[in-house]
Subunit: 99 residues, 10 copies
């Protein structure tokens, strides 16, 4: 099941740069792990903000919760989850369907 | 440039079924045309509502406007557009990038 | 997967009483069918409104969408879906779990 | 009387892990006590957030307030309470009602 | 249990005056019946609007729902219910309590 | 003139318990003074929150402001004031009115 | 007591011009009556909208309600009332106060 | 003084096409008149909606109101006005300022 | 041109009383200066809050900005500005206009 | 492609003046650089707030994100981006178009 996820990062402006760099690096690695597992499918930036939209493909909301809380920046994230139902006209599925 | 688009359809509950069927069919055809042109990339239903999330890949907001207003149901649509910036960790691009 | 669903019914105040009675009866029957199938688990009224909260247990958002659009009152419903993740301390599961 | 309760936990991201663990353990114990007393009936996580939905069955809003303020994490909780009225078609009661 | 109830009346501006007068009279009578039964305790107007705040004292949300849907204007009402818990310093109860 | 007042208390979760107890006691005393003067007429808790609804009977908004700012917890309060107009069917006045 | 009043007029775009002109003239006359009585003190337009801000000086919310419902356009108005408390530094009163 | 203006057009989906074309043409002409007078400076579409952002340069809010209500589509417009103050670093003025 | 200004003061509850007194005194003096210059015309308190409504008469938004940022409390203020257009029926101008 | 950008600066009121001056100077320089490059086209102040509206002309949302995050005050900014589509009646383009 796919979920559209909006993440806003609320990071204190005066945090030392090293701490941001360190946690950012771990965040990047964990994001790549989720992508390699096929759970995180797409990731976009919200222009102008430290925020993003992402597309997850997981079994259910419980697995999604496990993915999102595994992110090192999770304690600083304000997350909104949009459950997605399949649309019969989704180009991805109609393209893949030879009939 | 990619855009995430949220469309809510405000359709009068008492409209005759034939009219709905006729406009729905034209909507379907135009959606397939936009998909075939590579502009409409993904399409999901918002569960429980006559609403959807879609992902467009177009030159800019002017082309996006032309796509959206070409939809036969456009006069009944309440549309919100979210511009997307590329994220360096987007699984799609990192997967495609062999370097 | 469970979903918490909030439904607000927007019904024209001047609709003839017979029409309301007829559609209400069909709504009742379809609700009982969903309950018998184990998909609709709980149903509460929002006091003072023609609105309700319900608890669904279905495979995913696609099946939930099918359930909700099967309701005869669906064209008059304004529906908001809240996906639910399992909580390790949910009394239902801890009660059922002898370990 | 049943109440649907939405709880959002606003916990400082930089709080020491031990403090979180200690208060979390006490929270768990108190939640189990409320469940054993039959007041807390269900508990779900909001995916992606430190937040939950819960279902309480208590005498009235005064007893509900006592339950919620007994939770060790209460000073960090942002709580919204939805009073619930019985619905004649609630699967729980219709199932239990042999008539 | 007490409930604070906010009611907004959405009445079409062009409805014939006689119809408004007739339904208004029945509304008045039903309000007096609820007051005589001790369920409706206070009633105030929101200045400038066809809206009011009221205070109900009933067994629970189910009885409140029955009261509110018994009002002839109910199909035109937009109602929000605020459940109230007893406050130890409520002047009404401290005044009545000789201890 | 009566006013319905909603007060939300924003108190830092980590404030020492003694300070809370001390200010709370002074708050209680001042609330009783306002009640004894007939200005504060009713007081209810919002279930689950450190918040309340209260009913004031004062000359005007200026006197109400004086009452509310006299509360020791005022600097931590987020207050919303709803002015109330008399309703001809208010049970309190119709009950008291023998005509 | 002064009140700041925001009025939004919701008038059907297709209403015949004569009807609008007729009701507008009566509205104007009633506004002038309220001004002559010293109840309506100021009146401004919200630029771009059929909406206005006004300043009333009346005994209380009950008198304000009577003023506002006396306006011929009242059934088409969406009104929000802001109660005002005197400010010790209000230029009007400090100017008038020779001390 | 400059104003940023957001206009949303609320046009009934079932209005005959000729009526839309006729009013649209008059709208176009009046917009060009305001542009020729130097009052309307810029005009952009909100992608996906029948809505726009515009930039006006007028004496004050009273003149702006006259401009906006002169538009033939005004009865169908939902308008929000943002007053603008000059910014010392506005590229337009710094570019034009040789000092 | 007149502007209606809503100011909310966000002042830390635990700030020393002397600091508040000192800045408050300077705020008072600057407010009187703006009033003496005829820019600040009216000032009211929002009951229950450290907030106010004020009426300014200035050349444009740029001069208004200069007035508001000259207030010593400005860094703690959350300000919303409502531009006002003249209303032909404003009692102030019709009263002053002998024609 | 043009974007309308709303920026709200959330700066701690008690920050030392020198720090504000230093970062402000760097902000000014970077803004001028973006203007010189033709990316930042207009800049206005929101009266009464430390906030602004700006108009950017860039390739896409990715370039816009790079511009906005290059601003030294970015960590203190709350930014909302409005994508703009060309309007056939934009005075700028119709003026420049001799046909």
């Amino acid at each position: 099941m796919e979920f559209l996820v909006h993440i806003e990062i609320v990071w204190p402006p005066d945090e030392p740069e090293e701490r941001r760099a360190e946690i950012f690096e771990r965040e990047l690695a964990q994001g790549q792990r989720l992508a390699a597992e096929g759970r995180l499918r797409r990731l976009w930036r919200v222009p102008g903000r430290w925020a993003n939209w992402s597309l997850y493909d997981v079994a259910d909301a419980t697995e999604l919760h496990a993915c999102l809380t595994s992110l090192p920046l999770h304690p600083w994230m304000d997350i909104t989850v949009h459950p997605l139902a399949q649309h019969p006209n989704d180009p991805l599925t109609t393209r893949e369907d030879p009939s």
